[in-house]
Every structure is written in C-alpha cells, then in structure tokens.
C-alpha cells in the first residue's frame, strides 16, 4: 500500500480532484453556511444607509476572477437596490465595465424593474489610469468622467447633478481582483476622506493582505467565495425574490461552497496520506541506512 501511494501517478490525484469538484456541481449540493462578523458588517454597511443613499460600486475585476467575485457583485447590487439606494457603477479594469453591464442585465433589470438608468443608476464605465482615476475623482468626478458609458455628458445625467467628487458618496463598494482595486481605494479614497466608508469584496488570493485594513479603513469585507456565500445568506434572508424564494443567481456562492467542501476534504486526506508515506518511508530509509 505504501509503495502504491509512494508511486501514485499525479494524474489520479487530478482525476480525484476533478470528481470532487464535478460531482457536487452535478448533484447541485448546498450546505448550510454560518455567517461571520465580516459578512454581517458588510451587510450592515449597506443596510444602515437611509433609502436613496448614494452607493458607488467599483467592479475592479475581469472574467478570470468571475468565479469568486460575481456572486458577491450580484448580491451587492440586489441588496443596494432592494434598499432603494442610488447606484453609481464604475470600473478600474477594462472588462469590469462588461461585468457591470452583465450584472445590471441579470439582477437590476429583471428584479428591480423600477430602476431607471440615469435616475436610479448610472454606468460611469471604465476609465484608463488605474489609481489615478480614484485620485482625480476624489478632487473632481466630472473631470475623471467627462462622459459616462453610452456617451452622455456628465452634466446631462440627472443623478449626477450636484456631485462634485467622491465625498458625495455615502458608501463605496470595491469588488476587487487585484491591482488596481481595494488597496488603491483604501490608499486614495479612504485616506483622502477618512470619514468615508469603504466595503470590499475580494478574491482569496489577496484577502490576507486586506485584513489589516478591517475594520477601521474597510468597514466590511467579503473574502473569497466563502464571504460571498455568507453575504448571500443574509441578503436572501431579508430580500428574497418576488416569489418569496431566493433569486437563483443569489445562490451561486452557496452552490460553489459544495465543491469547496469535498475538494478540501480530499486535500486534507491527501496531505495526511502524503505525510504518512513520508514518515513511514523516512523511518524505513533510516533503518536501511543503519543496516
């Protein structure tokens, strides 16, 4: 057995991992989620704002991170729209603008048909310049976005009237996959307006880097798919779809936690087996060496 494990072809492990991820998806397995404090704080940050507050959502990601970030982006938009907030969408990543449109089409238009573009939400679009865009927008939003997505001039959009810079926002939500993203929002927005509030939804890879910012510089934080699933639970509990059931797209994060469980169990088993093989063979090698 030890010899078999020692010489196990890595492709068997790939196959096992593939099955561990595929089977829960095919069976559509979901498991209960216990909600942590960061997801609660994120929920509270949007929930505590009075109706009609201005919420800026910055989609700083692309399809490569969609698996982790799209579920939380969907939940952010549904939650904010359910509270009746004004939504300002922007993107620091080129394809973030495309993700904004997809989210608006999938969540805002079908589930919040009363939302009118220009009055209740606006697509500012992508602007090249990375953190420079935030820096300029903290001084002058019209200078950063002289025209919005679709070509209208800044001043022609009713819900942009009277907004001079980012301090007019009641909350900024950064859905971030890397640079530029949450870190730049902390550095150039929170530092410029220390009283302003920032919420972050982030990939697992960079989550650890943002923990020091929580809870003083970032008031709420969703880390990876686990954070998305927890937040979905809170949003679905309070704001289900029209038929009283959760909107299917707002179960995506929870659905992706099924494969997480099985894949993690497999990894734990593999780590234990690997260590077992290592220690057993090290012992026998040492004995062989003494002989």
């Amino acid at each position: 057995m030890i010899r078999f494990l020692q010489n196990l072809d890595r492709r068997w492990i790939f196959l096992a991992m593939g099955l561990a991820v595929a089977v829960p998806i095919l069976l559509q397995l979901r498991f209960p989620e216990s909600v942590g404090s960061k997801a609660r704080d994120t929920f509270a940050a949007i929930e505590s704002l009075p109706e009609g507050s201005k919420v800026l959502l910055s989609f700083d990601y692309d399809p490569a991170s969609e698996g982790e970030l799209q579920p939380m982006a969907n939940a952010f938009v549904h939650h904010a729209a359910s509270r009746g907030h004004k939504l300002y969408f922007m993107a620091l990543w080129p394809l973030g603008s495309q993700k904004v449109k997809e989210t608006v089409d999938a969540i805002l238009k079908p589930h919040h048909p009363s939302y009118v573009e220009g009055r209740d939400y606006v697509l500012l679009g992508f602007k090249a310049g990375n953190e420079g865009v935030i820096k300029v927008a903290t001084t002058s939003l019209p200078q950063a976005y002289p025209t919005v997505d679709g070509g209208s001039q800044f001043g022609e959009v009713p819900m942009l009237a009277g907004i001079s810079n980012l301090s007019a926002m009641d909350l900024v939500v950064s859905v971030s996959a890397g640079y530029p993203g949450t870190k730049e929002w902390v550095q150039y927005f929170v530092s410029a307006f220390p009283g302003e509030r920032l919420v972050s939804g982030t990939t697992g890879v960079q989550a650890v880097n943002f923990y020091p910012y929580y809870p003083k510089q970032i008031v709420g934080m969703l880390s990876a798919i686990k954070g998305a699933a927890e937040y979905e639970v809170l949003v679905n509990e309070k704001y289900p779809g029209g038929d009283g059931k959760p909107i299917p797209l707002l179960l995506e994060g929870q659905r992706r936690m099924g494969p997480q469980l099985t894949a993690h169990l497999l990894m734990i088993v593999l780590i234990l087996l690997g260590n077992l093989v290592y220690f057993v063979t090290r012992g026998s090698d040492a004995r062989g060496g003494r002989r």
Binding site: W12, G67, A128, Q153, S191
Partner: protein, 361 residues
C-alpha cells in the same frame, strides 16, 4: 497511469457526458439572441421653462424614440445624420422559448455566431485542462490563442481608452467627433497642453530608434518621479500612519457598563503580541539570542500562520475557479444542470414547434 490511458479515461468521460447531454430532449449548447435596433439623433434640447433668457439650448444625442423629440422639446440638429446600428443581446434559452411561444415573430432567434462561440469556449476550456495529462499540441494551440488575443486586445484597448480620449480628443476634438466620438460637444476647443504627453510619448518611443535611445530616459524619469511621489504619500497615509493608529488598541476591553469583553481582549492581545514579535524578527541589527531570539522565533510562527492562511485562501480561490469552469461546461454548454432556469425544458415544450421551425431542427 500512462499518458495514453489517462487520455482515454478523459475522452471516455467527456464522450459519456456529451452523449447524455445530446440525448436530452432540449438538446445542449445553443445560444439565443434578441435583435435590437439602436438609433440616435443629435438634438437641440430647449432650456427648461423659467430658465434664464440667455441660457442656450443643450446639444445632446437622444434615442430616436425619445418623447422629447415628438413633443417638440428637442429638435434634430440640421445636417447631422442619425447614427444607428443593430445589437444582438444575448438571452437565455428559456427566455427565448417563452418569448417565441407568445409571439413567433418576436426578434429572438438562435444565434449561429454565439453558438459557435459557446462551443469554442468549451473547446478552449478542455484544451487548457488537457495540460493536466501533460504538454500536448491542443494545449499549445489554446495557449497561443490566449496570448495572441490578449496582446491584440490590450493594444486595441490602449488605443481606444487612452490614445483617442486622452490625446487625440483634446488635440483635435472636431476631427475625433466626426470620426469616432460623436458625443464630444460641437464647441469643444483644442487643449494645447495635450502636446506635453504627446512629446513625452514620442520621446519614450525613441528607444526603438537605432540612435538617441537615451532620450527615452527623460520621460521614464518623469514616470518614475510622479509614481514615486504618488505612492509615497498614499503608502504613508494608508499603510503606515493608519496602520499604526489601528494597532494601538486597549488590551483590556470592557462594555459601557463595565462588563469585561474577554474575546475582544484576547483578540487585541494576540494582535499586539503578534505585531511586536514579527517586528522583532525583522530587526536585523540585533543578534537574535536570549529574549530577542525567543520573541523572534514566535514572530516566525506568526508569519508561518499568516502564510498558511494566505495559502488556504489561494487554494479556495483556485477551487472556485475550477468549479466555475465546470459550472460553465455542465450548465451553459452541456445543459446537464440548470440552477438558474436558463434552459427549462417546460419552456421548450410550449414553444417546440416555433423553435424547431426557426432553428431548422
């Protein structure tokens, strides 16, 4: 497992899934679109009633069906032709079938272009995954496509999101308005300050010339200087001062009524001890012996826990990416699962005749 065996196992599994998907009554791997005609006219919008007498009309692009045009509140600018195009918005199969069942003449149809795109995306996903079996020509093809498309995409993006709006538009607003961006106001004037980035850009490209490459060092110095200045302030504010402030926490936390908060107190204690021990570990001017050595070793443990946590998060992220790709294959392509109701067989049953007539099935 030999490479050939693993290839056979993979192909057999894929063929099995394809067979199951193919035999299902509503099929698999089809993409539908809704055709939408877009038309805009440049119009003069009259100032609102009660506005100052000297206020001039606003000029903006309005949708051709904008009620203000019919009401006379806005009128098309003479000599400006309307701008129009056709968009094909993706719709789910369920939405398409339901629409066609209600109205067979609705502008919703099976899209050959998007269907081919869907199958190509599935092929590329499998081609990249095939690297798990070992390097192979199919993987190389997919990798080359990715690199080529990415390079072309970034070049195009750089042109349209930077060169055109940040350089050409301020230098020649009239020409750019006629050529590419009709939303530029007709009265926009030339911003001569844009010549500075133009000159710097030319100097930067000078490094490609056979002689005078040193000229490129000046714009590079400009970039380095401005970036350093920008980063220095932001890092000092957000990552030094704010973090110092956040690290000064009470070690004994009590509620307003004086009740001790044990959990929060322990959390703060761990934060302070971890911070000090890691800082001591990076204190290289003192020999790590005695108390300093002990604290430093504890700092190493704290770092190891942090790295482990980061690795755990990374693993979680990678598994999510795999789950997302499998979700694409099983849901969007093979239609084996339908968590979001995107290809509901009941909807097809209602529209079966219409759909089969339109798709030629």
């Amino acid at each position: 497992m030999r490479p050939r065996t693993s290839l056979v196992v993979m192909l057999a599994g894929l063929a099995g899934l394809l067979l199951v998907a193919w035999m299902r009554p509503h099929g698999m791997g089809k993409a539908y679109v809704r055709t939408v005609e877009k038309s805009f006219v440049e119009a003069e919008i009259a100032p609102p009633i009660g506005a100052d007498a000297d206020e001039t009309p606003t000029i903006a692009w309005l949708a051709a069906d904008d009620p203000r045009l019919a009401d006379g509140e806005a009128k098309a600018v003479a000599g400006r032709a309307p701008v129009g195009w056709t968009e094909h918005e993706p719709v789910t199969a369920t939405e398409a079938w339901e629409t066609l069942a209600k109205d067979p003449t609705a502008p919703v149809a099976l899209s050959g272009r998007d269907t081919i795109g869907l199958w190509f995306a599935a092929f590329l996903t499998l081609a990249i995954l095939s690297f798990l079996l070992g390097d192979n020509p199919i993987y190389k093809v997919a990798e080359s496509i990715l690199i080529g498309v990415s390079a072309a995409y970034w070049m195009t993006l750089g042109f349209w999101s930077t060169i055109v709006p940040n350089l050409l538009k301020p230098l020649a607003p009239g020409a750019v308005r006629e050529w590419a961006l009709p939303s530029i106001p007709a009265d926009a004037t030339t911003e001569w300050t844009a010549l500075i980035p133009l000159v710097l850009g030319v100097m930067l490209l000078w490094r490609l010339a056979p002689r005078g490459g040193w000229i490129a060092t000046w714009p590079i110095a400009f970039i380095v200087g401005t970036t350093a200045g920008l980063k220095l302030i932001s890092f000092t504010q957000a990552d030094l001062l704010a973090q110092l402030s956040a690290s000064v926490v009470p070690l004994w936390v009590t509620a307003a009524d004086g009740t001790p908060r044990i959990g929060e107190s322990i959390g703060n204690l761990v934060l302070v001890v971890s911070l000090i021990s890691v800082l001591v570990y990076f204190l290289f001017s003192v020999e790590h012996r005695g108390i300093v050595g002990g604290v430093s070793r504890f700092g190493v443990w704290v770092l190891m826990i942090t790295f482990g946590s980061a690795f755990g998060f990374t693993v979680m992220g990678r598994i999510t990416l795999l789950a997302e790709r499998f979700g694409f294959l099983f849901d969007d392509w093979l239609w084996l699962v339908d968590p979001n109701g995107n290809h509901d067989p009941a909807a097809l049953a209602n529209a079966a005749a219409v759909v089969s007539a339109l798709s030629g099935a």
